[in-house]
């Protein structure tokens, strides 16, 4: 990086550190922090989408759809998220390849599952074996993001479902009195009103989502945990910057990063709660005080 970094063996103190912390691998470490944000940006809209679909399914008057909604939300809540994170990407991957195989290689007669192998024809591979590494990485990242969205979508569906039900019945009755249809009542009355009730649950979900991001590492994504382990491991004298096992130091950096993220989010959501509940007939809206939304709520969720 700097001119004086050509010969790190002779450096010490400040100069050594300024060279050490600007190596190519460290730059990769810094950019991998954006992977965390990328995951959050990709998953949040999907989580809200799955949450809405799940909540609407649970409210549906059609029996099979309602059963589907209830099963989706309760099964995901009853099983550790890590199991879904491991299962969903590989299941989707095999499912997609299976479908492509059926369409593109219909003349293929051998079974796909041969003993312990999963065999599909070359052109059914997803992504193509000939594609660049970054395509493989991006594909893996999006499968992981989808797994996150499915899991957290179930929690969001539960929160949104509760929030829709929490809208005071008198308001819906007013809608009926004005001759609105069910759809109109939902879009014009329930949907805009439910945010104030959904916000504590959703903000709690956001905190959990933040804390679930390091699990990306277990899915093979080169995220901050990957680089922290890589850079922190013992470097012998053969390396340009030899050092002992510094993994603890790197993990403490990650800890501070996550604490900071949680702290900033908490402040943001406290402000937002006040704003959304303005004019609402809740403790927040009338008294103007804040309720510690994390402390006691019926839907207290947490995880890794």
């Amino acid at each position: 990086m700097f001119d004086f970094c050509i010969d790190p063996q002779n450096l010490d103190g400040f100069y050594w550190w300024s060279c050490y912390l600007t190596t190519g691998k460290h730059i990769s470490f810094y950019t991998s922090f954006f992977v965390v944000f990328a995951l959050l940006i990709v998953t949040v809209p999907l989580i809200l989408l799955f949450g809405f679909l799940g909540a609407i399914a649970r409210q549906s008057r059609i029996y099979p759809i309602r059963i589907f909604g209830i099963t989706y939300t309760s099964v995901v809540r009853g099983v550790p998220d890590i199991i879904f994170f491991l299962f969903v990407p590989i299941a989707l991957d095999q499912g997609i390849e299976y479908l492509r195989h059926k369409f593109k290689c219909s003349e293929w007669v051998e079974p796909i599952r041969q003993g312990n192998d999963f065999v599909v024809c070359q052109i059914a591979k997803m992504p193509m074996g000939s594609s660049d590494q970054w395509i493989h990485d991006t594909y893996g990242f999006f499968l992981a993001a989808l797994a996150f969205s499915i899991v957290f979508g179930a929690f969001a569906a539960n929160t949104i479902n509760g929030a829709i039900n929490a809208v005071p019945p008198a308001q819906i009755e007013t809608g009926v009195a004005y001759g609105m249809t069910r759809k109109q009542i939902f879009i014009r009355i329930q949907l805009p009103q439910m945010w104030a009730y959904a916000l504590p649950g959703l903000s709690n979900l956001w905190m959990i989502l933040i804390k679930a991001t390091p699990l990306l590492f277990l899915l093979g994504v080169q995220d901050i945990v990957y680089w922290a382990r890589e850079l922190g491991g013992t470097k012998t004298a053969r390396f340009t910057y030899p050092h002992s096992d510094w993994r603890l130091g790197y993990f403490i950096v990650l800890l501070v990063f996550y604490l900071f993220l949680s702290w900033v989010s908490e402040i943001f959501f406290n402000k937002l709660t006040l704003k959304v509940s303005k004019g609402q007939a809740t403790l927040n809206g009338t008294v103007g005080g804040t309720i510690d939304y994390i402390s006691v709520s019926d839907d207290e969720v947490r995880n890794s």
Binding site: L86, R247, L248, V296
Partner: protein, 263 residues
Amino acid sequence: MSCLQTLTDYGLRSIGQGVRGLPKSDITLCDQFVLIGSGMIWNVYFAIIALFFGFFAATAIAFAKNSPQAILRVPSSIFIFILRGSPLFIQFFIVYETFVLFPKIGIDLNLIFMEITVETRWLTRAWLGALIVLFLNTTAYSAQIFYGAIQSVPLGDIEAAQALGLTNKQINKRIIWPTMLRLAWASYTNEAIFLFHATALVFFSSFPAWQQKGDALYYASYFADKTFNPFVPYPIIAMYFIIFTIIIILIFNSINKKLNKHL
């Protein structure tokens, strides 16, 4: 090989009883059910011990956070903030790396009249090291739940107790603590479920499985790797977790009934 034979061979494999090697080829459905079920022993062990000790520690820390004295309030608030604000996954890493740095043989503690050696090598093993992390984690989450509940205890109850001449200690023990439990119980049930789910991370994150003695997820991912078929082991482990989650809910609901008996 019959399924009964598999059960005697692998039923207690996760705690080191039975056949040494794991099934490598011709993995049957029975193998998967038995070994993953055997791994659940660890998940249940971690959950029960961590929740039991965590409950008492959380009560103490919740009252400490509620205390008017800064010397109690500040450290407990910091403890709760750090453990709730960071991922459990990172906590496992940090604690494991710290324990690995400890000397292998043990630390000699020189007391005045005798010298004792504190065993440190057990700390890098999951049964103790991971248990400590899970205990601290659930303590922090539960303490925050309990603290929120203490804050919601109706003021009238406390005033009534004061009017009857109860001391502060008596009020804490007889009025605030039982009411706190009643108010917090729904959230605390959720916490118990999620702690139980978090035990699946133990062998998957930092703590190495010794002699292939692992928890349910350790065996499930072993089978998924060996058979390259995720559609069998993961639904099996999901089924086990759902069953145990229902058991937790039943136990906690029955305690809840006891807590609210007079109401």
